[in-house]
């Protein structure tokens, strides 16, 4: 029996993918904000990568000043609403809340944050605007958390900003990657509209920049270029049978899911390959789409998975089963996927070793590869002098985000190799100021 019935309507989809951090009512926000101790030099602030003044905004909610609360949040993080919903708060702010040390429930910081920001978004109350024009122009490549955050901050600093985005809609993986039970498309896009209306940057959709000529044109027309391109497609497994029908990449599967909801087909029995957070998401999502059995297969032991514990717990709670210490050798089937041939593994001295002769086939009708995202090295090589590290990440100054090509600056997944929305938003804000410092020092003018 499947944990969830296969959704056929938007309502059924919404029920299966019910928000795990639903919107707080005013009353709930009052009660929850009342619990906050307003710690001195609060540890929750330090644990927030964007350094939001959490006790300040909670106190503002508590005194009936949700607008002020939203301002406090947005001053530190332009993705304030999305972050409240999608951040792994268990290991960030809420994980640092002092209540944990008293074995009490930590303050629900994320939900309070989304409560306050949602209020200003819904009211359309403007909190920010572009700074006085300084005559300089910046091109931003990628309208994900990094690109949009940089655009906002640059506009606040008086720059003219053009954002070039390959896809149809903004916010990058917040819209195309994050699990639907964390944030809805409508919520994501409402924040994007809210920001765009206030800051007035221009986004050019369906504009993938992918040639030297295009880059050249940008280099000539703009004073600096911000790279917020994120990562690429799912890494190939390089296994026989990988091309079979119903063997898909997790990022691609999730993108479809975010766009087409219940119209995405899932197998009856799904095997998800991988042990990271994306694997947990893909497994949960398969189950919520109505798969009868979902197996999470990982090369090492349960405790060695890269995923956060709470993400694995969430997957388990919707019926996902773990299969550990197995390595895939072949995707078997006849045209379509019919199973995965595994070999058992053992970890010795930190090394994964196969156990000879232990092959077996686990039948299934769908395989989701959650084996990491490739770096966009092909594109990055088009930028002269741009240095990448051994893992394909852009090398940049930690303070300013400036790359080895001084005209280019970078933030987000493309720089950090893949983190969270909050990291991209925080880094980009920082980098925007790094760009400003650089352009101001150099006395450039248009």
């Amino acid at each position: 029996m499947a944990e969830y019935p296969t959704p056929t309507t938007e309502q059924e989809f919404a029920a299966n993918f019910a928000q795990i951090k639903p919107l707080m009512s005013n009353t709930e926000a009052l009660y929850e904000s009342s619990r906050c101790l307003f710690c001195f030099d609060a540890p929750c602030i330090k644990a927030c990568p964007s350094g939001i003044d959490i006790p300040q905004f909670i106190r503002q909610i508590n005194t009936g000043n949700a607008t002020g609360a939203a301002k406090t949040i947005y001053e530190a993080n332009y993705f304030g609403n999305a972050c409240g919903k999608v951040c792994p708060t268990e290991v960030l702010c809420e994980g640092a809340c002092v209540y944990n040390l008293n074995e009490q429930k930590p303050i629900e910081i994320g939900r309070l944050q989304s409560h306050a920001t949602r209020k200003v978004i819904d009211s359309g109350h403007k909190l920010f605007g572009p700074g006085p024009a300084n005559g300089r122009k910046v091109a931003v490549i990628g309208a994900g958390p990094a690109g949009i955050s940089a655009a906002c901050e640059l506009r606040a600093l008086g720059y003219e900003v053009d954002v070039f985005e390959a896809r149809e809609q903004p916010s990058g993986l917040t819209l195309y990657g994050v699990a639907p039970y964390k944030i809805t498309n409508a919520e994501t896009l409402a924040e994007m509209d809210y920001l765009e209306q206030q800051f007035g940057y221009r986004v050019h959709y369906n504009r993938r920049i992918n040639s030297r000529e295009e880059l050249q044109a940008l280099e000539e027309a703009y004073d600096a270029i911000f790279l917020g391109i994120g990562l690429g497609a799912t890494n190939a497994l390089l296994l026989p049978g990988e091309e079979r029908q119903n063997c898909v990449g997790a990022v691609e599967f999730i993108e479809q899911l975010r766009m087409a909801h219940q119209h995405v087909a899932v197998g009856k029995k799904v095997i998800v390959l991988g042990g990271g957070n994306t694997a947990m998401d893909a497994a949960s999502e398969s189950s919520r789409l109505g798969a009868e059995d979902v197996i999470l297969a990982y090369r090492r032991g349960k405790d060695e998975m890269g995923a956060y514990e709470f993400e694995y717990d969430l997957a388990k709670s919707v019926g996902v089963k773990g299969l550990f210490n197995v390595a895939p050798v072949e995707i078997v089937g006849n045209g379509k996927v019919e199973g995965v041939k595994f070999i058992r593994t053992a970890t010795r001295d930190g090394q994964v070793q196969i156990v000879p002769g232990s092959e077996f086939v686990e039948p299934c009708d769908m395989v989701i590869k959650a084996t990491g995202q490739a770096k966009q090295t092909g594109f990055l090589h088009l930028i002269p002098g741009l240095q990448l590290d051994g893992k394909g990440r852009i090398v940049a100054d930690a303070r300013t985000g400036q790359t080895s090509n001084p005209k280019y600056f970078a933030s987000g997944d493309a720089l950090n190799g893949g983190a969270e929305v909050v990291n991209a938003a925080a880094e980009a804000k920082q980098t925007a100021r790094g760009m400003h410092a650089f352009l101001t020092e150099n006395g450039l003018s248009s």
């Binding site: 009342s34 003044d53 640092a96 303070r399």
Partner: protein, 470 residues
Amino acid sequence: MPDLSINFAGIKSPNPFWLASAPPTNSGYQVMKAFDAGWGGAVWKTLGVPVVNVSSRYGGVNYRDKRLVGFNNIELISDRPLADNLREIEEVKKFFPNNAVIASLMVQSRQEWHDIVRDVTNAGADGIELNFGCPHGMCERGMGSAVGQEPEVLKTIVEWVMEVARIPVIVKLTPNISDITEPARAARAGGADAISLINTIQSIVGVDLDKFAPYPIVDGKGTNGGYCGPAVKPIALNMVKNCAQDPDVRLPISGIGGIENWRDAVEHILLGASSVQVCTAAMHFGFGIIREMTAGLEQYMTEKGFNTIYDFVGKALPNVKHWEDLNLKYQVKAHINEDKCIGCQLCYTACEDGAHQAIGLQEGTRTPVIIEDNCVGCNLCSLVCPVEQCITMERRDDGTEHRTWKERTKANDIPVTFNDDRAGGLHHWVPEPAAALGKERHKTLPGKARALGSPQEVIAPKASDVLSAS
């Protein structure tokens, strides 16, 4: 099983818990329901002259998410016909002969007082309470607190009442006066059998920030009301104590003000009350709260070995002294129980900014340390600490010495100049004023500082870094 019953100035009641004269005692229906639930007595909603009430009558004070820590009203005395009330008093007494029904009264002329005292006595009331307290509406007509604030007038009216009274008379005092013992003494001088206190305190509970009017708002306007509820208990306790300790009062006291549970009641009793009255708590939670009150009181009495209420009426009074009688040799210092500390650092900021800079922060831990030399033993840190028994105040003197201000004055051992070695704060260390500058700015505004500061800021940590760091 302890005996909860009382005989209050001749009024018998199965327990000391009475409903105060207020909306919960507005009708026979409510009083019967309350007795049915277990209340010992009820002071009927004040009867008197015909009145008219406004619509929109109450205002509340909320503290964060806690509702009605304070409550105020601009209501007047009973607006129901006297005849109806008298008939219902009679009916209640028929059903509940052993419960106390006290009629609260407020009229003007001597004749009116005589008439109404006879009326309620004939209706079967066990006692009378004279309402000299209402701080709004009635005082403008020369009644209520207008009487309570004039000891001479109060005494005269009590005398009028005593001319005809055949049942015990309680005088209810207003707290809107600088020395509560003055009207209490006047009540005794007039011949009253007991006093009850406090009535409500003149107040404005809040102002509407958009309508620019005080709560409760009546068609855009408001007026001062009477304050009660949990927030007024400390004021009531002090006034009860003042009356109980005054050698010229010596009357049974019915304690009123902020009583919501058995603890509040016991506090009133320990300071001299021998019956207690409740209004706001019953208006907030209904009559059912009586179960917790009697259960708690019974358990307390059992644990303490008290057989009757009178075993502990006024038991705390000998320990309530004037400041000059306190032992100046007694010395406590704050102590942090590190195992319990959760690192909120509220004690640090409280002592640093609000007390004596006697708590420091340490590298590598969020648990603060007490700097004993600077600690004056004020208790502040232990009061702000959110963890039970985490900061305790430990005695540091050996308990052998005892010296009060009074004794020092007698012995001519008091400081006369600030440079006198016997002066209090003389050798107390305080930091240089300029050491305050910039000390904690970076800690109070991190989000903003990052948004507005220079690009020299450190780059934000990744979730994984934060994890491994913690």
